[in-house]
Amino acid sequence: MRLISRYARLFAVQLRMSMVTGMQYRADFWLKGLTAIVWLGVALVPLFSVFQQRATVRGWTFPEALVVVGCFAVMKAILEGAISPSLTSVVEHVRKGTLDFLLLKPVDAQFLVSTARFEPWRVTDLGGAALVFAYAFRRLGHGPSPRGLLLALALLAVATLVLYSLWILVVSASFWVVKVDNLSYLFGSLFDAGRWPIAIFRGALWFAFTFVFPLALMTSYPAMALLARLEPGTAIAALGGGLAFASVARLVWRRALGFYTSASS
């Protein structure tokens, strides 16, 4: 119990530090907020273009696809606001050898590196997501059922865990191949495909986005839960698979840490 409260206090401190740092650069704050909104607009233009041509694509209508975009915006806010910033700095620590200082501290290293930095202005992305959801469900004429909403929240939570685990795997890779800073760009660019319903993809891309880099779990399944079209079997498999994946990532991190050789050796 004392352990949990200690970590909670530490988490609060880290979060406050990020807030304080973020507030220092006010012009940056507004610019980044604006960029986030422009990006959401950019995410919508291809969708408009496609559904301008056809009423349905592989069984998805325009408002239904918008629900996927909403989930995409939520996950993107989480990824770029809470996951990427911290883990990008770990890669930097490994390269420079300054990870030593973190490893010496009397708390779990993974916890410490994962909460190092947050970007609070990403909240604007969540606002954008709310707008997209509101518009989509108005067009559909009905809101999500309470059960669908709960399931979607559970899926989004597991998706966050999976996303975080994928990042931890990338960071673990940096212990072996040092120069992985641009892996984060690769990560971001792959993630962009998540704004499309998984049903659109076939063959290799479908396989990759369902099992290897599970975009389906992150955006399509939560959207399907909200739309009450997710089969229970898929939901259970997704939840179980996500949790299993996260524990594997934790194991890999522990092992990878053993390979860390600092800068001087």
Binding site: V38, A193, L205
Partner: protein
């Protein structure tokens, strides 16, 4: 009046600088090439980052499975997106990141000490990566020719010439735009934020994500008149034959107007930035 005391005229000094650059260029190219070979893993990851055309191709392929979309059948989409990917890889540059990192970190100082304009050195570094890039894109070019060969307009020698010129123009235009955006780091702390904004606009307006004519109408109108058109859509649509030789020739003129605008803008920003530049610890 002592002739040695008069400063050399602007043209004489520009001429001298160009001559020095021309002498140094081959060496710079060799150095650049070995750098790319040394950091090949990073290079491959960067290539993989340019994956959006393939995702968009999958999507339009699905949409066009029950009949053509506008002028586009499934094969046209293949030609469009594979061609777009190839052109993008041949003409894009990571100059902005490099410039803004060097300006903020102060490492630009070492470049300024050398008897060669830093922009020449940076352009050489970028040119040096071209052989590797050509190597990487060649399999895709092969696939492109195999699947959509008869549709490519470059079999006409006149069009092929315009296409080659448009590629070079696109490279120059993107280079100078990057100099302009990178030089913003002299003045702003968040130049990379501006760059991200630019990337967002580019991906929509240049035809990179969506062919311009499939965009919502008013977006397409803006796209056609923007410099982004000259960066990707113009070479690409010349390649696939969506713009006939006559239109392409006119757009080549437009492209050079944009190059002039961006070159003046970029070099002006660079010069006034250098005057403000104070290296940390330097």
């Amino acid at each position: 009046m002592n002739p040695a005391a008069t400063p050399p005229s602007f043209w004489a000094s520009a001429h001298g600088e160009l001559r020095r650059a021309a002498r140094a260029y081959p060496t710079l190219l060799r150095v650049g090439l070995s750098e790319v070979v040394a950091y090949r893993a990073e290079f491959v990851v960067w290539i993989l980052t340019t994956n959006m055309p393939f995702v968009m191709l999958a999507i339009w392929h699905a949409v066009a499975s029950d009949g053509p979309v506008g002028r586009f059948g499934q094969t046209d989409f293949v030609a469009y997106y594979l061609g777009g990917w190839v052109i993008r890889l041949l003409t894009s540059t990571w100059l902005v990141w490099e410039l803004s990192m060097e300006i903020r970190g102060g490492t630009l100082s070492t470049r300024l000490l050398r008897p060669l304009h830093p922009l020449f050195a940076l352009s050489a570094e970028h040119m040096a990566a071209l052989p590797m890039r050509v190597l990487v894109v060649s399999p895709v070019i092969a696939i492109l020719v195999l699947t959509a060969g008869p549709r490519l307009a470059v079999r006409d020698p006149a069009v092929a010439l315009i296409f080659a010129a448009s590629l070079m123009g696109a490279w120059l235009l993107i280079f100078f735009t990057m100099v302009l955006l990178g030089s913003l780091s002299f003045f702003l702390e968040s130049a990379l934020g501006v760059f991200e904004m630019w990337l967002a606009l580019h991906s929509i307006l240049s035809g990179y994500l969506i062919p311009q004519e499939l965009l919502p109408r008013w977006v397409a109108m803006v796209a056609r008149r923007s410099p982004f058109d000259s960066m990707l859509a113009f070479p690409l649509e010349t390649l696939t034959g969506m713009r006939d030789a006559h239109t392409a020739l006119r757009d080549l003129g437009t492209q050079w107007v944009w190059i002039a605008v961006m070159a003046i803008g970029g070099l002006t920003a660079w010069r006034s930035g250098i005057r403000r530049y104070v290296a940390f610890g330097g």
